[in-house]
């Protein structure tokens, strides 16, 4: 069992006193546990949270976002807008890849071209859809111009997204198909080993441009069961755990040697209507359901107080979220009235779909329970994920429970795909909302370079969406990170992939 250790480690140990190594190991190793393994560490090959949380440590993006989701310099130390569709970037000098090569503008071009190349078949390609990578103009090693196909105001957010992490051309070519198992980036930690399905081993990259990270080694463990993750934290099998189970929040909070950090995230859960089928083509019905549902029980019973009831389509942490939206109050009489207006005084029967995910199933059950009070008879159907996505994309559904994460932390990402009529189906708009006003406002938002103007468009569109009620906004997510009390300087990031550069351990 122990034999599957790292060969390098053995080699390295030879000239050091083993006892010392033991000690050092113990002190300088940070173990993070999350609920899934990363399928690959090629940032372009996956677009999922477990992978991003690791690739975030290995790769860096041109721009960065701080804990308030505001854009900060990343590998680019400066940038300017030349015109609507052209940006000029200036890179930091002396940034080293883990293989020793220095970062140049060529690497940026290579990275973006690879991401957009059809052969790469990257699930994250759409993030840079608007970028014309082939025509990136390299001015010198540290300066280049980035052309866009069309004006795209939120581009900075996109350039900070983890799929755009900068790769080294030589390393990619060297490892070919195995790059995902041998990632090479510029980040503060470099890849060292991987027990697939179990643990990823990272080591501090001593030549990082910001200096040395706080810990010598960083391990990401895969502990799927929520309860077990907490147990691992309690028993010292992990120093930090992500996604503390709602039921364990109190336990972690109250334990003396453990700390809990909570932070709103960028996700919104919703119950959507298929607006192309009866009776949900009638706004009154959608509104009635909105009035009939109260989401306090969801937060309370499903998430144990983690997160809050949603009052609009965007999580408050998202740039551009409308903070003053009131949503719908809980008013059964009004709901019944609206239903009667729409001709459904006796209610109706409806199928509510969800995928097999505990919280969504619970939400479905709560919705079922609450809607029975206004005579709507809900039949829950739990679908397998693939089938669920496919069938909801094709509009075979009536009502469904789903969520959306504004991964870039910007309103455009949080609204365009799910509410624009160009995005019907698989692209994200599974309610089939088609509202010209909404479309227009969303398009304007993309092109408005004036912050105030842009925010105004989004305010307006969020109000319309609330009024149109394609969704019942159920829940805004909150992430909870548990850690041992000796873990210091952890900063939590709303996007979920936290930078671990600063962390030190004071055991």
């Amino acid at each position: 069992l122990t034999g599957c250790g790292d060969p390098d480690e053995e080699a390295g140990e030879q000239d050091v006193d083993p006892d010392e190594v033991e000690e050092k190991l113990d002190e300088d190793v940070l173990i993070v546990a999350q609920g899934a393994d990363a399928p690959t560490l090629d940032p372009q090959a996956e677009n999922d949270q477990p992978s991003s949380r690791i690739t975030e440590q290995i790769f860096e993006t041109l721009l960065d976002q701080d804990e308030n989701m505001e854009v900060q310099p990343g590998l680019a130390k400066d940038w300017e807008v030349i015109d609507d569709t052209t940006y000029k970037f200036e890179l930091r000098e002396g940034v080293k890849f883990h293989n020793g090569e220095e970062l140049t503008a060529d690497d940026i071009k290579f990275t973006y071209q690879r991401l957009l190349d059809e052969d790469t078949a990257s699930p994250g390609a759409f993030i840079l859809d608007m970028v014309d990578a082939d025509n990136i103009e390299i001015i010198d090693d540290y300066t280049f111009e980035l052309p866009l196909h069309e004006p795209f105001a939120p581009i900075e957010f996109h350039l900070a997204h983890s799929v755009t992490g900068i790769l080294n051309e030589d390393a990619v070519n060297e490892h070919g198909d195995d790059f995902g198992q041998n990632p090479v980036g510029t980040g503060p930690f470099k890849f060292s080993d991987w027990d697939v399905g179990d643990r990823v081993y990272l080591e501090r990259f001593d030549d990082h441009w910001r200096g040395k990270a706080g810990v010598r080694e960083l391990h990401f463990r895969n502990v799927e069961e929520d309860t077990n993750r907490t147990i691992e934290l309690e028993t010292g099998g992990a120093d930090i755990i992500y996604d503390v189970s709602p039921t364990d929040l109190d336990r972690v909070e109250e334990a003396e040697e453990l700390n809990l950090m909570r932070e709103d995230d960028l996700s919104t859960e919703y119950v959507g209507f298929n607006m192309e089928v009866e009776p949900f083509d009638d706004k009154r019905v959608r509104q009635a359901i909105n009035y009939a549902l109260t989401m306090e029980p969801v937060v309370e019973n499903v998430y144990y107080g983690l997160g809050q009831p949603a009052r609009g389509p965007l999580a408050p942490a998202v740039y551009g979220a409308h903070e003053d939206l009131e949503g719908y109050e809980h008013d059964l009489d009004k709901a019944k009235e609206l239903l009667a207006d729409a001709g459904y005084e006796d209610g109706f029967e409806v199928e509510l779909w969800t995928n097999e995910q505990q919280q969504r199933e619970d939400i479905a059950e709560i919705v079922q329970g609450q809607l029975s009070q206004i005579g709507i008879d809900v039949d829950i159907s739990v679908r397998e994920w693939g089938a669920y996505l496919e069938e909801t994309a094709q509009g075979e559904h009536e009502m469904f429970v789903l969520g959306w994460v504004s991964v870039t932390g910007d309103a455009d990402y949080g609204l365009y795909s799910v509410f624009h009529s160009d995005e019907h189906g698989a692209a994200g708009n599974r309610t089939f909302l088609a509202n010209e006003e909404v479309d227009e406002l969303l398009e304007k938002g993309r092109e408005a370079f004036d912050e105030e103007e842009r925010l105004e468009y989004y305010r307006e569109v969020q109000e319309i969406i609330t009024e149109e009620a394609p969704w019942v906004f159920t829940h805004v997510g909150e992430q909870a990170v548990g850690m041992r009390d000796y873990v210091e300087n952890f900063t939590i990031n709303p996007a979920g992939h936290h930078s671990l550069f600063d962390i030190t351990l004071s055991k």
Binding site: L1, D42, A45, A121, G180, Q181, G197, E224, G386
Partner: protein
């Protein structure tokens, strides 16, 4: 004997082709499209189509199946849709864990099950018999994942003796092996007992007793070998079952095993891994069965005589 083994190996071929066919069909009719999965939900239609063509997914079922089958026959199980790595590599990476887990569980089960079964049978209806039979019944009655969770609460939380997840050191292996082993042990105990009872009724046991042999010799030398055949069948089936069926235990204890790989792949619609994984387990399972049959021959010369 060699000829027999060879013949059996030959007979495996149609079975395995059948397995390939069934798994392939199941994954084929499963809704969800590998290309979409690979590219993510937000990928543009064009790109998806392109990829489908590239993967040969536009072909009719028969053609796809034969393409796959001919690849398999050449030892190529394809590439994982999520990680892009060869399926064979992914499987072989996971297999040692699963193997240690199931072998450990089977060994534990045999070490408990056979002696307890023998004692129960030789003292039929005694207190020991009743207690062990009740234990065995409970062992098969309690869902495995529940037992696993209880084991974690008991031995990782309340009495922190063993780690609750991961699979790095021998300590990690203890709880999952015990969890899996107990239910198998329960089965083996029951089988051993009934098989022993049956054998102890036989005339040759009476003959052995009439020779004046002491009871130990009668039970161990004369009865056990005869009673072992059905027990070995159960052990073989159990082992095969554990290889692919330890999914729940692997999940509870966060062990990167084969069963979990396949289940995760099913959920991610990572079809190539599902197909390869199931095929791999089927091969191992069939080999275990063959091994069991060969073991029969060593236990029972009559069976050996039939293997031609």
């Amino acid at each position: 004997m060699h000829k027999y083994i060879f013949k059996r190996l030959l007979q495996l071929i149609p079975v395995l082709i059948g397995v390939v066919f069934i798994v392939f069909t199941i994954t084929y009719i499963t809704p969800g499209d590998p290309a979409t999965i690979l590219l993510g939900e937000q990928a543009p239609e064009e790109q998806v189509k392109q990829l489908r063509r590239q993967m040969g997914l536009h072909l009719p079922f028969g053609a796809q199946f034969f393409n796959y089958l001919s690849d398999v026959l050449q030892g190529d199980l394809g590439y994982s849709l999520t990680s892009g790595r060869p399926v064979t590599v992914e499987i072989l990476e996971r297999f040692p864990n699963t193997f240690i887990l199931s072998t450990g569980a089977v060994i534990l089960a045999v070490l408990i099950g056979i002696p307890v079964g023998i004692i129960s049978a030789t003292r039929q209806y005694s207190k020991i018999d009743n207690i062990s039979m009740l234990g065995a019944l409970l062992g098969v009655s309690l869902p495995n994942f529940w037992q696993g969770m209880m084991a974690i609460l008991l031995f990782s939380v309340w009495l922190p003796i063993f780690p609750s997840s991961g699979f790095d050191t021998w300590q990690h292996a203890v709880l999952p092996i015990v969890t899996l082993g107990t239910s198998s042990a329960a089965l083996i105990t029951r089988m051993t007992r009934s098989s022993m009872l049956e054998v102890l009724r036989q005339d040759y046991i009476r003959t052995a007793r009439a020779k004046g042999l002491d009871e130990r010799t009668v039970v161990i030398k004369h009865a056990l070998k005869n009673a072992l055949i059905p027990v070995i069948t159960v052990i073989g089936l159990q082992f095969g079952f554990l290889l692919g069926g330890a999914v729940l235990t692997e999940r509870i204890f966060s062990i990167a095993g084969l069963g979990r790989l396949i289940v995760d792949s099913i959920r991610e619609q990572n079809f190539t891994v599902v197909q390869g994984g199931v095929l791999f387990i089927a091969v191992i399972f069939s080999l275990v069965n063959l091994l069991v049959d060969i073991l029969y021959a060593y236990l029972d010369p009559r069976i050996k005589a039939q293997y031609k």
